[in-house]
């Protein structure tokens, strides 16, 4: 199982606690983790990656094992520690805004 940490608003939307675990068939990549996540929590579809382009939303970032993976190819393998469930994939909302 791959561990995923969601930002507060997405946990609220998915009605889950801080960390969740998803079963990811095949190679563990950003794309395959998000596929598994969205299959289990359909309400998250479109909130992390755009419906049309499939790209990461601009104000979200992906981190794991103290690395910023936001700009890695979505099909690149995630660190082995993430694949083995030792470390979580962290989906983080950028600290931005404040105008409202």
């Amino acid at each position: 199982m791959v561990r995923v940490e969601l930002p507060y608003h997405l946990r609220q939307l998915a009605r889950v606690d801080k960390e969740i675990a998803v079963d990811v068939p095949g190679e563990v990549t950003i794309a395959s983790v998000l596929d598994a996540l969205e299959a289990r929590f359909p309400m998250l579809q479109g909130t992390i990656r755009d419906h049309v382009t499939g790209e990461r939303r601009p104000l979200l970032r992906f981190f794991a094992c103290e690395e910023d993976l936001s700009f890695a190819p979505p099909t690149a393998p995630l660190p082995d520690a993430v694949a083995r469930g030792v470390e979580p994939l962290i989906i983080l909302g950028a600290i931005a805004g404040g105008s409202r």
């Binding site: 608003h9 997405l10 609220q12 309400m43 479109g46 909130t47 755009d50 939303r57 104000l59 931005a96």
Partner: protein, 370 residues
């Protein structure tokens, strides 16, 4: 005893306010989805416990919520708003072509007969329809495909379709308004559209009487007279009595005819309410005095309504979606402010009370009489 339910969309969550028919004591719900923006919530006229809500975030995009119990609990429904075909371009602020990009849902208009059917007005301006309770959405693309579509340009708030009206006497007749493309009417359920802008005059346009380009802020209709519409334009308050074929200015003695919100009394089709805003650069009331203006003659002659409203140091705005009426015998009028107050009048506007005072900035107010 009737109940009144006020659905309030704010910058930081949705709130449900409830009262009995006396409308003296209000219960304010905890925030639903605190931290998310709610541009609009609206209940089905045939099943008031079915409520649709537009939830969005700069971080996470657009999501949609649906309630089957009057806003107590919510389920997430479809948020896939895909333009039909190759989207093409509209005009950008600088006049250059710009691709259509979905940003958010501004307005939800449930069907008058079927709780599973709902229309959504979105930015960049398009009209979508769901017939499965919001699970899936299909664009009624004839609107955006109108021959003028490539000329539409955004207003300051974006290229948003913010008003959808269904003619209660002919459900195939739809009206929409777009900032800043103007107003359009369909007589065939959305298969075809025509601009309804004759009589609108916008001095900031290169051609002030152009067919499209008018920054319409809101249109209101009384259900008993669907051929009569009242419009708050960027500047000017307007009316039509022929379903938009021609418009006449009815600003009359308003101290300023800039504003956003406009609505009609539930039982008096010629009684109209607006909230004048100082001007298009200063979005707050004149002289720090929050005043609703009422016309009992369908326009031209307006009277200020101030009792119970702050008359000094008030610099809030009342946004286009933030006014509505109930249908009790003594019609209630409600509006929300960017300062977080929701004001209500239970006597046709003569006096006002803040039924809640410290919400996040209010974006939308919808009232259900149950």
């Amino acid at each position: 005893m009737s109940e009144v339910r006020v659905l309030v969309g704010t910058r930081k969550g949705a709130f449900v306010l409830t009262s009995d028919g006396k409308r003296q004591h209000w219960k304010v719900s905890a925030p639903h989805f605190g931290g998310w923006e709610f541009y609009h919530l609206k209940g089905s006229p045939v099943d008031p416990n079915r409520i649709y809500a537009s939830q969005s975030s700069a971080w996470f995009g657009q999501t949609m919520q649906r309630s089957n119990d009057g806003g107590k609990t919510w389920e997430t429904v479809g948020n896939k708003f895909l333009y039909d075909g190759i989207p093409g371009t509209h005009q950008w602020y600088d006049g250059t072509p710009h691709p259509w990009e979905f940003k958010r849902v501004w307005h939800l208009e449930p069907s008058l007969t079927d709780p599973e059917t709902v229309y959504a007005g979105v930015e960049d301006a398009a009209l979508f329809k769901s017939i499965d309770g919001g699970a899936t959405w299909t664009e009624l693309s004839a609107l955006r495909g109108h021959s003028t579509g490539s000329q539409w340009a955004p207003g300051a708030g974006g290229l948003c379709l913010h008003t959808i009206l269904i003619d209660p006497s002919d459900h195939q007749r739809l009206y929409v308004a777009i900032s800043s493309a103007g107003a359009f009417r369909s007589d065939d359920g959305g298969a075809g559209w025509k601009p309804i802008t004759k009589g609108l005059h916008s001095k900031y346009l290169p051609v002030p009487d152009a067919e499209v380009g008018h920054c319409v802020h809101r249109i209101a209709m009384h259900p008993s007279r669907p051929q009569t519409l009242f419009m708050q334009k960027h500047w000017d308050v307007m009316r039509t009595d022929d379903s938009g074929e021609s418009w006449q200015k009815i600003s009359g003695n308003l101290p300023t005819d800039f504003g956003f919100a406009i609505d009609v009394h539930a039982h008096e089709p010629e009684t109209v309410f607006v909230v004048p805003i100082k001007n298009d650069s200063e979005h707050y009331p004149l002289d720090g005095k929050l005043q609703v203006f009422r016309s009992r003659s369908g326009g031209h002659e307006w009277e200020p309504l101030t009792k119970g409203l702050p008359q000094q140091d008030c610099y809030v705005n009342v946004l286009r979606e933030a006014m509505d009426v109930d249908t009790l015998d003594s019609c209630g009028i409600y509006f929300g402010t960017t300062g977080g107050q929701v004001y209500a009048s239970t006597d046709g506007g003569d006096s006002w009370t803040a039924i809640v005072r410290d919400l996040p900035p209010v974006v939308s107010v919808e009232v259900q009489t149950i």
